[in-house]
């Protein structure tokens, strides 16, 4: 078929080319069939994924992360904007000629083909010589530790194995870009952690440019070079896991990644890098307030992570009544009522003297270097 030979030549042309992914002002508008209403699923997204990098799109359901991934794969067309792979615009390139692999949430294994044929499928499509197909498939089988089950059918193997088969099938064609659509969401918690570490190790070893979609923040933190936080179709923040956690750009990001308290404050002034803020009439000096610089005299919000507050029984400037104490083993989480705010704190060294009971008074000591200023 002319179809296949075209694929083959495209693939050959692609391999060896650079594989960075660029999204330029990409917007996707869906028109719902019954109401004729237009829904903006992805809103003017700009993103650059460098060669060999692993970037995660993270956000709540409906934030546009899967739509973004499907546009890169070519299953959806952007309403406006352009997607480039290796610097080449993809607008008119059909999905089967993009040199991309996708690991599906449902794995999408071919139920009528055995494991071997599932993995070899992409190679057969390229009409490679038989010996090469056998050799590369065998390599993928070994890499994914699927030896001995080559001739079983997908329905006859476990969920973790299905996951491995899906991955083997995706990497065996040596794609320029590997896409993951919540690939671990069907596994149980233990296996999910194991697979996620394996996946990351494999991606690093093969050096394939990868985009990974998930709604699980710990998965995103564990697996990525950089994380893209999305909400309502827009990018909220892009950064390394550490940057995202330590310097959240806004309240949504701070809340989505880890736990955070938001305390209203007045901006008193700046002193070089440092910021002076007042909460409940008490002035606080923040040595690392982050990149947000609300105007002096304006109202702002402090992002205070639970571990940035130490509780004590000795009176300090601010305090309140303990309303909840939850024992987590490694730490104890307390909820303290400060005025009309519920402040969550994490106490690591649960020494006898520092145990609090519900109803007791507790006093805050802040670790100012961990507090960020949000506008």
């Amino acid at each position: 078929m002319s179809d296949t030979t075209a694929t083959e030549s495209t693939y050959k042309a692609f391999s060896g080319r650079s594989s960075n992914v660029t999204l330029k002002n990409v917007t996707k508008v869906f028109t719902s069939y019954d109401t004729k209403k237009e829904v903006v699923a992805v809103n003017n997204v700009n993103l650059e994924v460098a060669e060999g990098e692993m970037v995660t799109l993270l956000g709540p359901s409906g934030c546009g992360k899967t739509t973004t991934l499907r546009m890169i794969a070519g299953f959806e067309d952007p309403s406006s904007g352009e997607i480039f792979i290796g610097g080449i615009p993809m607008t008119t390139v059909p999905p089967n000629k993009r040199g991309i692999s996708l690991v599906f949430q449902s794995y999408a294994l071919f139920p009528h083909l055995d494991i071997w044929e599932n993995i070899a499928y992409g190679l057969r499509v390229q009409k490679l010589p038989k010996a090469e197909i056998a050799q590369r498939t065998q390599k993928a089988v070994e890499l994914m530790q699927l030896q001995g089950m080559e001739h079983r059918f997908p329905a006859q193997v476990s969920g973790g194995q299905q996951q491995r088969i899906a991955l083997a099938r995706a990497i065996v064609i040596e794609p320029r870009v590997l896409l993951f659509d919540e690939p671990l969401s069907n596994l149980d918690a233990k296996l999910r952690e194991k697979m996620r570490d394996e996946l990351r190790a494999l991606q690093k070893r093969l050096g394939i440019t990868s985009l990974y979609v998930t709604h699980d923040q710990s998965e995103a933190m564990a697996i990525s070079d950089r994380v893209v936080i999305m909400k309502d179709g827009s990018i909220m923040q892009v950064g390394t896991p550490r940057e995202i956690y330590e310097k959240p750009a806004n309240r949504f990001v701070a809340n989505f990644i880890g736990k955070a308290n938001f305390i209203p404050c007045d901006v008193v002034g700046y002193d070089g890098q440092e910021a002076m803020v007042a909460i409940y009439g008490k002035t606080l000096r923040l040595p690392k307030p982050g990149d947000n610089r609300p105007a002096v005299g304006s109202k702002a919000t402090l992002c205070v992570r639970p571990e940035a507050i130490r509780l004590s029984k000795d009176e300090t400037l601010l305090g309140g009544k303990v309303t909840r104490a939850t024992y987590y083993g490694s730490h104890v989480e307390y909820e303290v009522q400060l005025d009309d705010l519920s402040i969550i704190t994490e106490q690591n060294e649960a020494k006898e003297s520092e145990l609090f009971h519900v109803g007791e008074s507790a006093w805050f000591t802040f670790k100012p270097e961990l507090i960020r200023l949000l506008s």
Partner: protein, 595 residues
């Protein structure tokens, strides 16, 4: 640095938000353009779409347009309502119209009741001999035409076994509405049974269990949960049977007596009085109610259904074994089944006795007579059906695939047109074909080709429907996986979709073969001395009252049909199955692994 970027992005976002609506309209056309460009990159797909549109236009739309234009023109081809006026001012045609509607409505009610009885009994109750009932409830679908009518004549006719033989009634008139209702109800209740089984099976058993758990009695559950949930199915089954009854030709043609119906009158007008225009106008009168029923069923009822098509049964339904429920239902089903067996058995016996009603001596004379007539018609039937069947099957699967999985302009039109023939009575399609294909460049009259096309396009909807419902249950990402691995549309269809559609494909093949073998109304105008078929030969045996010979012919047809089903079963389900291929591959690359 990152934060800078973010801030810029947010600023840009805000800027975009206001003129977004304007932008969308620009985007709309751009998106369409992109889609078009993408489509053009897949020549196989474009070609398939264009080819199918061409075929649908030529073999479905064009003939219908011909029927429509003939009914509103005069001899010279100018616009005229004179033909309409003549037909409509004739009260007997109005009578015929209402006869058809009345028959359709009565049969639809009875067949739906019987269908519901069987469907409920087999899905909800621990029925003894369940498989036996299941078989009987689908038997009429694969049986040749005329069987049940013939049986009625054998049993209740002037020489009837029951009327004359047992009751000694000499002047019982078997021909008329009551016989017609009986015969059609038995013929079409399988349609109701299958529709209702689908609905009853897809009602989540948890819903009924929940009612039971809340303390409701079995009867209360049926009344307040099961029955209301199956209402869309009941309505659907009613409309489908109504269409079948309206378009039925073979039963009313031989047993309706003076109770005229549209399908038969149209035939009589054309073949007896050479009034093609009159026939076309009756065809229009016939197609309107069936089309309305079709549109109601497809577009109105489908939206009303409470059950999802996709979900597999979550758990095994626990059937009730309560004897107070089992035995009454069993008795009812058994009585109906025995009656069906009596009808079929009568024809079987009728084929082997000397002269029905007079001399019941066993003989093979009728088979000898049928053989002496020559194998031509039967061979023609088999050849034409065998050629039409794979075409129908593959075309049906391709259309189902395109409609469910692909996006292209005119998709809805393709879906509607390809399903349309399930609402077009065979008589109407037949009239359309003689009108459309009697002159160049489409001069097909008298050829095998026109018969094959009639079979193909008339039987396609069922294949499309089973393909569609299977496709909706196959995770779309399985095909996307094939695409992203580099396969184009054609390759994905061949390697992934078609194998997964095997079961639907098979049932489509069986159905279209059987329907082709048993077709009467759609081809009665299209046969020629060279291409005569078995069913029309049976019809002519009826017309000269050679009932036992007709019975012999029918018995032969049943044997052929059963053999064909068995053969298709072997061909599709066993040869080329994944397992055998898997074995071949296994040995092949085991060798390689050792190297």
């Amino acid at each position: 640095m990152e934060n800078d970027g973010t801030q810029k992005t947010t600023a840009a976002m805000r800027a975009v938000q206001s003129p977004l609506t304007e932008q969308i309209h620009v985007n709309g056309s751009r998106q369409r353009k992109t889609a078009a460009v993408k489509l053009l990159r897949q020549p196989f797909l474009v070609l398939a779409i264009l080819l199918i549109f061409g075929l649908l236009a030529l073999f479905i739309v064009f003939p219908l347009v011909k029927v429509g234009t003939l009914s509103v023109t005069d001899e010279k081809g100018a616009f005229s309502l004179e033909g309409m006026r003549q037909i409509f001012s004739n009260r007997s045609y109005w009578q015929t119209f209402w006869n058809s509607i009345k028959l359709g409505a009565i049969v639809a009610v009875i067949a739906t009741l019987i269908g519901y009885l069987f469907a409920y009994s087999l899905t909800r109750v621990k029925m003894p001999a369940g498989r036996f009932f299941q078989m009987l409830a689908t038997l009429p679908i694969i049986s040749p035409p005329f069987v049940l009518s013939l049986s009625m004549i054998f049993l209740f006719g002037r020489q009837g076994l029951i009327t004359k033989g047992l009751l000694h009634i000499d002047d019982f008139d078997v021909y008329g509405l009551p016989s017609l209702i009986l015969v059609q109800s038995i013929s079409f209740f399988p349609v109701a049974y299958l529709t209702l089984t689908g609905i009853l099976e897809s009602i989540d058993s948890a819903v009924e269990d929940a009612a039971l758990n809340l303390g409701a009695s079995k009867w209360h559950i049926f009344r307040t949960v099961t029955l209301p949930l199956s209402v869309p199915g009941i309505a659907s089954s009613f409309l489908l049977v109504f269409i079948q009854s309206m378009e039925d030709f073979s039963n009313p043609a031989v047993i309706s007596g003076r109770y005229t119906t549209l399908a038969v009158e149209a035939y009589r007008l054309i073949t007896g009085m050479y009034d093609t225009r009159g026939g076309a106008i009756l065809a229009i009168m016939l197609i309107l109610p069936t089309l309305i029923a079709f549109i109601l069923q497809k577009y109105w009822l489908n939206g009303k259904s409470f059950v999802t098509v996709t979900g597999k049964p979550t758990q095994q339904r626990k059937k009730t074994g309560d004897p107070r429920i089992v035995w009454p239902l069993f008795t009812l089903c058994l009585l109906i089944s025995l009656f069906i067996i009596l009808l079929y058995g009568t024809v079987l016996v009728g084929a082997f006795v000397k002269t029905w009603g007079i001399n019941y001596k066993l003989t093979l004379d009728h088979f000898k007579y049928v053989f002496s007539l020559g194998w031509d018609t039967l061979r023609n039937s088999i050849v034409l059906s065998a050629v039409a069947t794979p075409i129908t099957g593959i075309l049906g699967m391709i259309i189902a695939y395109l409609v469910i999985r692909k996006n292209f302009p005119g998709k809805r039109v393709m879906e509607f047109t390809s399903m349309l023939t399930s609402a077009i009575p065979g008589t109407v399609l037949g009239i359309g074909y003689i009108l459309a294909f009697n002159q160049k460049p489409f001069l097909f009259t008298g050829t095998a080709f026109i018969l094959i096309m009639a079979f193909t396009f008339r039987n396609m909807p069922v294949g499309i429907e089973s393909g569609t419902s299977t496709l909706m249950q196959i995770d779309k990402s399985i095909e996307e996986a094939s695409t992203i691995l580099g396969a184009g549309s054609g390759l994905t269809f061949r390697r992934i979709t078609l194998p997964l559609l095997k079961q639907a494909f098979f049932s489509g093949l069986v159905y279209s073969f059987v329907r082709s073998m048993t077709a009467v109304s759609s081809i009665i105008f299209l046969i020629s001395p060279r291409w005569n078929v078995a069913t029309t030969r049976i019809f002519s045996l009826f017309e000269i009252s050679k009932y036992s010979d007709a019975a012999a012919y029918i018995v032969i047809m049943i044997v052929v049909i059963l053999a064909a089903i068995a053969l298709l079963n072997r061909l599709v389900l066993h040869s080329g199955s994944t397992n055998s291929q898997g074995n071949v591959r296994k040995s092949k690359h085991k060798g390689l692994a050792h190297e």
